[in-house]
Symmetry: C2
Subunit: 399 residues, 2 copies
C-alpha cells in the first residue's frame, strides 16, 4: 500500500504546488485549504483535512481521518484549532491568509478564521476563490492526459448506445441502461459541481417535448425529471417515432471529467431539426478554431449566437421556453470550472484550458438536437483538440 499522502509523482507534485503557490501569492501570503476538489488537485488523493500553503516554502498537512498517511509534514489533527496551533508554532504569521470562501460554508470559514485569529491576531483573512478557480482552469499535461483517458472511455460507451436501445423504451429506461454501461466501463458515477446551482445524477436523457420543460438548475437543457425533488432530465416519456433522444451522460473515469452529448432519433425527423443539428456541429468546429490562447471567451459566445441568429434559430438556441445563458464551460475535477463561454464572461482562453462546448437547440414537437464535445486549448494557433470523438451524426435507433 502506498503510505504517502501525496499520490502524484514528484515532478507533477512540484509543478502543481508551484502553480498553487503562485495562485496564493496573487491574493495573500498563505492559504488554508480544505475543499475536497482542491486537496485532490494538489495531492492526487481525496482526504479529510487541511493544508496550509505558504506562498513560499513547504506546506503543512493536517489529517482528520486516515492517519495511516502521517509522515513528515503530515500530522493527525482532529480539530482546526489544533492544526492552527501546530501551524503557528512552525510558521511566521502571514499578513493575509486566504480561505476558500466560495466553496466552504459560512460556519466553516468563520471557525477557521477564529482558529487562526487566536494564533495570529493581526492576520487578515481574504477569499482564495477566484485565484484557485483561475489556477484550476489551466490543466497540467498530466491532467489533460487523464481527461483524454476519460474521453476515450466515455466514447466507448456512446458507441454502444444504438445497441442498448430496444423498441418501446422510455427515456428513463434508456438512461438506466446507459448508466449501467458507463459503470461497467469504470465510470465513478460521482459528478462534482461547484456552487449551489446544480444537482444531478449521472447525466440526462431527453426526448420529445420534455426537452423544453424548464429546470431550476443551471444546465444547458432542462427536463421535468422523475420527481419534484430532482426536477431535471428524463420524465419517463416513451421514445416516439419522429422524435429525437439527446444523451448527455457524463464521463468521470479518472477523477477528471469529460462532457459529451450526442443526439439519436427514432425514424425520420423534420428538416429543421436536422438543420439545427448540423448548425450545432458547425458552431463547434468554428469555436474550436477560435479557441486559441488570448481569445476572450465572450467572443466565442457571440459567434455561436450570431450563427444561430443567421440561421433563424435564435429562439431555439440553448432552450426555447427557458434559454441557458452560455454555450460552453470549463471542466475537470468539477463539471463547472472556469472559463465560462457566456456573453458577460471576462475569461480569456489560455493553453491547457479544458472546455466543453454544447450549442444545443430545442425543436417543438421533436426534442433537443445538437452535440457537445470536450476540447483542450493548444498553443501555436492550432484549433482546440477534441477529446470526445464518438460519431457526431444523428443516429437512427430504428436501424
Amino acid at each position: 500500500m502506498n503510505r504517502s499522502l501525496i499520490l502524484l509523482d514528484h515532478d507533477e507534485y512540484t509543478l502543481r504546488l508551484s502553480r498553487m503557490q503562485q495562485a496564493v501569492a496573487s491574493c495573500a501570503d498563505a492559504a488554508i485549504l480544505s475543499d475536497k476538489a482542491t486537496l485532490y488537485w494538489l495531492t492526487g488523493r481525496v482526504f479529510a483535512g487541511f493544508v496550509y500553503v505558504p506562498a513560499d516554502g513547504t506546506p503543512l498537512f493536517g489529517l482528520r481521518r486516515c492517519v495511516q498517511f502521517e509522515s513528515d509534514g503530515v500530522t493527525a489533527e482532529r480539530k482546526i484549532e489544533d492544526f492552527a496551533r501546530h501551524v503557528a508554532a512552525a510558521m511566521p504569521a502571514p499578513g493575509q491568509l486566504a480561505l476558500e470562501m466560495d466553496s466552504s460554508s459560512y460556519s466553516a470559514v468563520a471557525r477557521i478564521s477564529a482558529a487562526f485569529a487566536a494564533q495570529w491576531p493581526d492576520t487578515e483573512t481574504v477569499n482564495a476563490g477566484a485565484a484557485l478557480r483561475a489556477m484550476r482552469a489551466v490543466k497540467t499535461p498530466q491532467q489533460i492526459e487523464m481527461m483524454r483517458r476519460s474521453g476515450l472511455r466515455q466514447e466507448a460507451v456512446y458507441r454502444r448506445i444504438p445497441a442498448i436501445y430496444t423498441p418501446g423504451m422510455t427515456d428513463y429506461e434508456l438512461q438506466v441502461e446507459i448508466e449501467r454501461e458507463s459503470r461497467l466501463e469504470g465510470c465513478l458515477g460521482q459528478f462534482r459541481t461547484a456552487g449551489d446551482e446544480m444537482e444531478l445524477f449521472m447525466g440526462n436523457v431527453l426526448t420529445g417535448d420534455n426537452a423544453d420543460t424548464p429546470s431550476p438548475y443551471d444546465f444547458a437543457m432542462g427536463g421535468a425529471g422523475m420527481d419534484p425533488s430532482l426536477p431535471v432530465g428524463a420524465d419517463g416519456s416513451v421514445i416516439r417515432r419522429g422524435c429525437t433522444v439527446m444523451v448527455d451522460v457524463n464521463g468521470n473515469y479518472t477523477g477528471y471529467m469529460t462532457d459529451m452529448t450526442r443526439t439519436y432519433r427514432l425514424g425520420d425527423i423534420p428538416a429543421e431539426a436536422l438543420r439545427a443539428h448540423e448548425l450545432s456541429r458547425e458552431i463547434c468546429r468554428r469555436l474550436a478554431e477560435m479557441g486559441t490562447p488570448g481569445r476572450p471567451a465572450r467572443e466565442m459566445y457571440e459567434t455561436a449566437l450570431g450563427m444561430a441568429r443567421e440561421a433563424g434559430l435564435e429562439h431555439r438556441f440553448m432552450g426555447h421556453r427557458q434559454q441557458a445563458g452560455f454555450v460552453g464551460h470549463g471542466l475537470g475535477i468539477e463539471i463547472n470550472e472556469a472559463p465560462v463561454i457566456a456573453p458577460r464572461s471576462r475569461d480569456i482562453l489560455a493553453e491547457g484550458m479544458c472546455i466543453a462546448l454544447e450549442p444545443k437547440f430545442v425543436i417543438a414537437g421533436v426534442g433537443a438536437v445538437g452535440i457537445e464535445n470536450t476540447y483542450v486549448v493548444r498553443a501555436d494557433g492550432r484549433p482546440m483538440e477534441c477529446i470526445t470523438n464518438a460519431p457526431e451524426e444523428i443516429i437512427d435507433l430504428d436501424k
Copy 2:
C-alpha cells in the same frame, strides 16, 4: 401542468410553514432561505431562488429560474439584491434575520447579508442552521409516509439481490447490478448530504478485507474505492468463498431516503462473524425498544457500545483499523440529518424522528457483518417502527 410553486396540499403546507415559523421564531424575527433541501421541505418542490419567512405572517418567494411559477407572493428575481428590495418594500425590518450559515457558502451568506443590510441597516444577522436542523429532524405524518414508501421499494430491490449475484463477480460488478435494479425500481440516484464530510455515489458494497480499509468520509464503514478521487466502497475485489458481502445501497425513491444494509456470504463463514451479525440484530432490537420520545440519543450509543463490549467485540465495532464514532443517524431529505446517535450527542428523541441504526462489525479475513434499518420514533412507549423490512439473516449467495 401544476402552475403553483407549492406542490404540497393545503393542510400539509400550513403544517410545515407553521413548524418553520416556530423554528424561525426560536432564533430570529425572520429568515431568508435558499438551500435546496430547505426549499423542498417547505414546498414539496426543488426550485432555484429564495424564500423570506417572517416568524409571523405570509412568506415571500423569489424565483431565479422557472418563472412559470410566478403568482401571488411568488416573483421572478434574478438577483438577491432585487429580492431584498422587494421584501423590504413589503415587510417591516426584522431585528434579527436568520441565514443558513451552516449550508450556504461564506460568499453567498456575505452577499445575502449585504443585500439586506442595504435595505435594513439596523438588522442583525444570525445563524438559522441549528433551528432548521432541529425542525427537519421531526417528520410530519406525510413525510413519514414518503419514507415508508421509499423503504418498501428499497426492500423490493434487496429481496432480488441473491438472484442478481453470479459466481465470480467482483464487489463492484455486484454493486453495478444492484444500482441498475434500484434505478429500474425508481431510485432517483441522488443522495443528498449535509456538510462537507461525505461524498458518495449510490451506496457501497464491501467484501473481505476491503471492509477494513479506512476512508476519509464520515460513514460507518470504509473501503478503498475504485479510484483515489472517490476513496470509499468497493475496490474491485472478487467475492471469495468464506467472505461476507455487505450491501448498503441507498433508497431515495420519493425525495425522502431510507437507509438499509444487509449482509450476504459465499459459503461458510467463521462463528465469530455469525455471532457478530446476530449481535448487530440484537442491538437494533434493543435500541428500537429504547427509542421512545425523551430518550437521550447518547444513551442509545452507550447501550450499543456496552453490548459490543460485553460480547468481546468492541475492537471490531463500527470498524477495526478506523472506528466510526456513531451507531446511528437521522435521515430524510439528507442522509445525515439530526439526531446523531453518538457518545457526545445532545439530541433527545421525539415522536416523528426518523433514525437509521447501523451497528456493524469488521471481522478480519472475512469482511463486514451486521444490518442497518430505518426507524420512526412513535408515541405511547411503543418501540420504534422499522420501515426497512428485508430479511435480516445472512443469506448464502451460493445457494
